[in-house]
C-alpha cells in the first residue's frame, strides 16, 4: 500500500493543517510517511502545495514522481489545474469549488468548473458554504479533508483525533466547528459522488450538491435526487420547498 497526495491551495488556507492531520493518522496506523511543504515567500498569498506520501514500506523521495500521484486534494479550484497533470491514470481530484480570487486574471468560474468536471474521478464540494454552515469560514480546509476522507485509508475517528489535537489549544468551540466542517464536507462529497454514480451530469451534480443544506445533506438520498434531476421543474419545486424529499411528497421511486 502506498498513497501519494498533493495538497494544494493558497498561502493562508491551511494546507499544512490538513497535512498535520493525515501525517499523524498515518503514523498512528503504523505507516511510514514523508511530507514536503512550502515555507517562506510563497506563503504570502501565493500558490502553495505539499507532497504527502504514506505507505506500508519505506518511502524514498520527499517529492512524488509525476504519474504516481493518487490524489490532488485542493482547497481552491484553480489550484487543481497546477498539479493535475501529475496524477496517475487511476488518480482522483478532490477539490473545493470556492474560489480564492487575489489575481486579476482569475478564470471564469463556469469555465473552470467545466474543466474540472471533465476529469471523471472528481469530488467537488463548496467548502466555503460548508465552512460557513459549520460556523467559521476558515474551516474550508477541514471541509475539503472531509470530502477526501472516504478515499484515504483511515476511519473518521483516526482523522478527527488529530483535528481535535490541532485545534485543541484554540478552545472547544473551534474544535467543534472544524469537526463539523469535516463531517459536512464528507457528507457533501459522498452526496456528489452518489449523484455522479447515479448518472447525473457532473455540472448538475455540482449545482445540486451546492443547493443542499450542508447540515442535513444525506448521501443515502443521492440516488433519489439523481432520478429526480431529469425533471427540472419538479426538482426546482422541491428545492423551493426546502430540499426535503419526503416532505415534498413527490413520487420518487425509493
Amino acid at each position: 500500500m502506498e498513497k501519494n497526495l498533493i495538497l494544494a491551495g493558497v498561502g493562508g488556507q491551511g494546507i499544512l493543517s490538513i497535512a498535520f492531520v493525515i501525517d499523524n493518522a498515518a503514523l498512528d496506523a503504523g505507516y511510514q510517511f514523508k511530507q514536503a511543504e512550502v515555507h517562506g515567500m510563497s506563503q504570502r498569498g501565493g500558490a502553495v502545495q505539499s507532497h504527502l506520501r504514506y505507505a506500508d514500506h519505506p518511502i524514498h523521495s520527499d517529492l512524488i514522481p509525476t504519474g504516481r500521484v493518487d490524489m490532488v486534494l485542493s482547497v481552491e479550484p484553480l489550484e487543481v489545474l497546477r498539479y493535475w497533470k501529475t496524477l496517475s491514470p487511476e488518480g482522483w481530484v478532490v477539490s473545493s469549488i470556492t474560489p480564492y480570487i487575489n489575481i486579476p486574471d482569475y478564470p471564469d468560474m463556469d469555465e473552470l468548473l467545466t474543466q474540472l468536471v471533465s476529469f471523471p474521478s472528481v469530488v467537488l464540494v463548496d467548502a466555503g458554504k460548508i465552512a460557513q454552515a459549520a460556523g467559521n469560514l476558515r474551516a474550508q480546509n477541514m471541509a475539503t479533508l472531509g470530502a477526501a476522507s472516504p478515499l484515504l485509508d483511515f476511519d473518521d475517528e483516526q482523522l478527527l483525533k488529530y483535528v481535535r489535537v490541532l485545534f485543541g489549544a484554540k478552545g472547544e468551540k473551534i474544535v467543534a466547528v472544524n469537526e463539523k466542517a469535516y463531517r459536512y464536507g464528507k457528507a457533501a462529497g459522498q452526496f456528489f459522488r452518489g449523484l455522479i454514480e447515479a448518472g447525473i451530469a457532473p455540472l448538475d451534480a455540482v449545482w445540486l450538491t451546492r443547493r443542499m443544506d450542508p447540515a442535513t445533506i444525506d448521501p443515502a438520498q443521492a440516488g433519489r435526487w439523481a432520478r429526480l434531476a431529469s425533471d427540472k421543474d419538479a426538482l426546482a419545486a422541491i428545492l423551493e420547498a426546502g430540499s426535503d424529499l419526503d416532505a415534498a411528497r413527490v413520487g420518487v421511486p425509493g
Binding site: K34, A36, G40, M41, R44, D62, P89
Partner: protein, 527 residues
C-alpha cells in the same frame, strides 16, 4: 529510543540538543529558520540552553565561535547567502579551529524558492578545508548533526551540515536516542597563539589545518554515510537527497552501481572503485556540479564516461526531483491520467491585505511622479514584493543592505533621486554601516526604512532595530535631525506622507524617513 515527527530543519536542531548543545545563534532565512525556532522552543522549556537571534550571520557565527572557545557546544544557523555575510568569521574559524564542538547548519536553496541565488555551500566547506555532512533524509539530519559534534571535537575544527530546501522543509518520523549527551563544562581555550591570528601564528595554524586533511579524507572514506554498492556497469554518484530520487525510480533488484555521498571531503578511494567498475557514471547533485566537475577535471577522466549537469543529462540549474533524475537515467516517462490540457493562471506571492508596506509604496510612488521613470533601490524582505504589480515601486534587490549603499553609489555617480527602501531588521543586519558611509560621504540619498517591528518574511521573529532603538541608531549615525522623519503608513495619512517624501526628495544630502506601522501578521501571531 523515542520517535518524533520532524522537519529536516527540526531534526538538525534536536540532534544538536541531544549532542549536548549549550548555545544556538542565527539570523532568520528560508529555508533555515526552523532549526533555530525548534531549539528555541526546547530552550524555553528547559532553561539550560541559550538561544539567541543575532543581528546578522557574521555576528551569529562569532557568538557560536565564542561558545566553542569556552569549551562548550554551539550551533549556528543561516541560509546559504547568509554564509557570505559570515564568511570572514567562518573561514578564519577553520584556522583557529574549534574548542567545544562547533557546527554550522547552512540551508541551501536549489531552485531559489525564496532566494536570490542557488550557491552551493559545499564549495565553502572545501574552501575552508572543513568536513561537511549532507543528509539524505530527516533521520540523517538528526544522526549527522550528533556525529558532526563529535567529529568537530575530535579534529578540533568546525563542521558544516549542509541542507537543501527539500530536506529542510520535509517532515518524517525520526528515531531519537534515549539518553542525550550532557553539555560540556566551561573550559575556555588557553592557547593564545591558536586564537590570535597574527601572521606568525596564522601560518602555524594554517599548516595545522592543512595537515589535518589526510585525516578528513580517511574519515570520509570510512564514513557510514558514504556507501558504495557495486552492481552493473551503469553507475550513479548520488549526493545527499538525490539518492532518494534515484532509488524512487529503481526496482529493488536494479543493476546500477551506486555511490551515495553524505560526508565530505569526497572519498577518493570509493570514488575510484566505482569509476573503475562502471562504463558510465551519472552524477546527481542538488546544487552545483561540485563532484561532477571534480571527477571530470580539466581533461576528462579517461575511464568511465561522466554525465550530469554539465553534459545536459540533467539541467544545469534548478532543484532536482524524481522526474528529472528519471530522465537523466534514461528511463521512460511514467504514464499519467488524461485530462484537459490547461494552464493555471499564475498566483505569485503578494503583500498581505492591510500590509503597511502597501501604504508606504503608494505614497512613495505618488511622491516620485515628479520624476521621469524613477528607479528605487531596495532590499530583502516582504517589501521586496513591492517590485511586482500592482505597486511596481522598487527596481532592485541584490543582497542584505545593498539598497542604501547602491543608492549612495548611484547618487555619487550623479543619479537623482537616489531612493533606498530597506526594512528595520535588514537595516540592523547590514544597513547601518551603509548609512554611516552615506552620511560621511554626504551622498544625496533618501533612505526609507519600513519599520514593521519584526522580521516578517521568515515568520515574525524579533527585529534588533525597531521603534525607539531604530531612531536612536539612525540619529546616532549622524543624520541631520531635520531630515529624519517618521511617518505612519495608513491610507488616511496618504497625502501627508506624500508631502513628507516630496520635502525630503527636494533636500540635497542624506535623509531618512521611517515608515512605521506593525506588521499585521505579527499582530495576528502575537495577539
Amino acid at each position: 529510543m523515542g520517535r518524533e515527527v520532524l522537519l529536516g530543519d527540526e531534526a538538525v536542531g534536536l540532534g544538536a540538543v541531544h549532542a549536548g548543545l549549550t548555545g544556538i545563534f542565527g539570523y532568520p532565512g528560508t529555508p533555515s529558520t526552523e532549526i533555530f525556532e525548534f531549539v528555541e522552543r526546547i530552550a524555553r522549556k528547559r532553561g539550560d540552553i541559550e538561544a539567541h537571534w543575532s543581528t546578522n550571520e557574521k555576528v551569529a557565527y562569532e557568538e557560536a565561535l565564542g561558545v566553542s572557545w569556552a569549551g562548550r557546544r554551539a550551533l549556528v544557523t543561516m541560509k546559504h547567502v547568509g554564509l557570505n555575510v559570515a564568511a570572514d568569521a567562518f573561514m578564519n574559524s577553520a584556522v583557529t579551529g574549534a574548542n567545544g564542538g562547533l557546527v554550522l547548519a547552512v540551508a541551501d536553496d536549489p531552485g531559489m524558492h525564496s532566494s536570490q541565488n542557488e550557491q552551493d555551500s559545499r564549495y565553502f566547506a572545501k574552501f575552508a578545508l572543513i568536513p561537511c555532512f549532507e543528509p539524505r533524509d530527516q533521520q540523517a539530519c538528526y544522526d549527522m548533526t550528533r556525529d558532526a559534534y563529535d567529529l568537530s571535537e575530535e579534529l578540533g575544527i568546525p563542521v558544516m551540515v549542509r541542507l537543501v530546501t527539500r530536506i529542510a522543509h520535509s517532515r518524517s518520523a525520526v528515531e531519537t536516542v534515549s539518553e542525550p549527551r550532557p553539555q560540556n563544562p566551561l573550559e575556555p581555550a588557553k592557547d593564545i597563539r591558536r586564537w590570535t591570528l597574527l601572521p606568525s601564528n596564522a601560518r602555524v595554524q594554517y599548516r595545522i589545518l592543512v595537515e589535518k586533511q589526510p585525516e578528513l579524507l580517511r574519515r570520509a572514506e570510512e564514513s557510514p554515510y558514504n556507501v558504495l554498492e557495486l552492481r552493473g556497469k551503469r553507475g550513479i554518484i548520488a549526493c545527499g537527497i538525490t539518492l532518494n530520487y534515484a532509488l524512487e525510480n529503481l526496482p529493488r533488484d536494479h543493476d546500477w552501481s551506486i555511490l551515495a555521498i553524505g560526508q565530505y571531503p569526497v572519498p577518493p578511494e570509493k570514488l575510484r572503485r566505482l569509476v573503475e567498475h562502471v562504463d558510465e557514471v551519472l552524477v546527481l547533485e542538488d546544487g552545483y556540479p561540485f563532484v561532477e566537475e571534480m571527477l571530470r577535471g580539466l581533461f576528462g577522466l579517461g575511464m568511465a564516461t561522466v554525465r550530469g549537469r554539465l553534459t545536459g543529462e540533467l539541467p544545469r540549474t534548478g532543484e532536482l526531483n524524481p522526474d528529472l533524475v528519471r530522465a537523466g537515467m534514461g528511463l521512460p516517462e511514467v504514464a499519467t491520467a488524461a485530462q484537459m490540457d490547461t494552464t493555471a493562471a499564475s498566483r505569485p506571492p503578494t503583500l498581505c491585505p492591510g500590509c503597511p508596506h502597501t501604504d508606504t509604496y503608494k505614497a512613495l510612488n505618488e511622491a516620485l511622479e515628479i520624476f521621469t521613470d524613477p528607479q528605487v533601490f531596495s532590499d530583502i524582505g516582504c517589501y521586496t514584493l513591492g517590485a511586482l504589480p500592482p505597486l511596481q515601486a522598487i527596481h532592485s534587490c541584490v543582497d542584505m543592505g545593498a539598497s542604501i549603499s547602491m543608492a549612495a553609489g548611484a547618487a555619487i555617480a550623479g543619479y537623482r533621486p537616489a531612493v533606498a527602501v530597506i526594512g528595520d531588521s535588514t537595516f540592523a543586519h547590514s544597513g547601518m554601516t551603509g548609512l554611516l558611509s552615506a552620511i560621511e560621504q554626504e551622498a544625496n540619498v533618501n533612505i526609507v526604512i519600513v519599520d514593521n517591528e519584526t522580521v516578517a518574511m521568515t515568520g515574525t521573529q524579533p527585529s534588533a532595530a525597531t521603534m525607539e532603538t531604530l531612531d536612536r541608531i539612525v540619529l546616532g549615525l549622524g543624520i541631520d535631525p531635520e531630515h529624519f522623519r517618521v511617518i505612519t503608513p495608513v491610507p488616511k495619512n496618504h497625502a501627508d506622507n506624500v508631502r513628507v517624501f516630496r520635502e525630503e526628495l527636494e533636500h540635497e544630502g542624506p535623509s531618512v524617513i521611517v515608515a512605521r506601522r506593525a506588521c499585521i501578521e505579527k499582530i495576528k501571531r502575537h495577539r
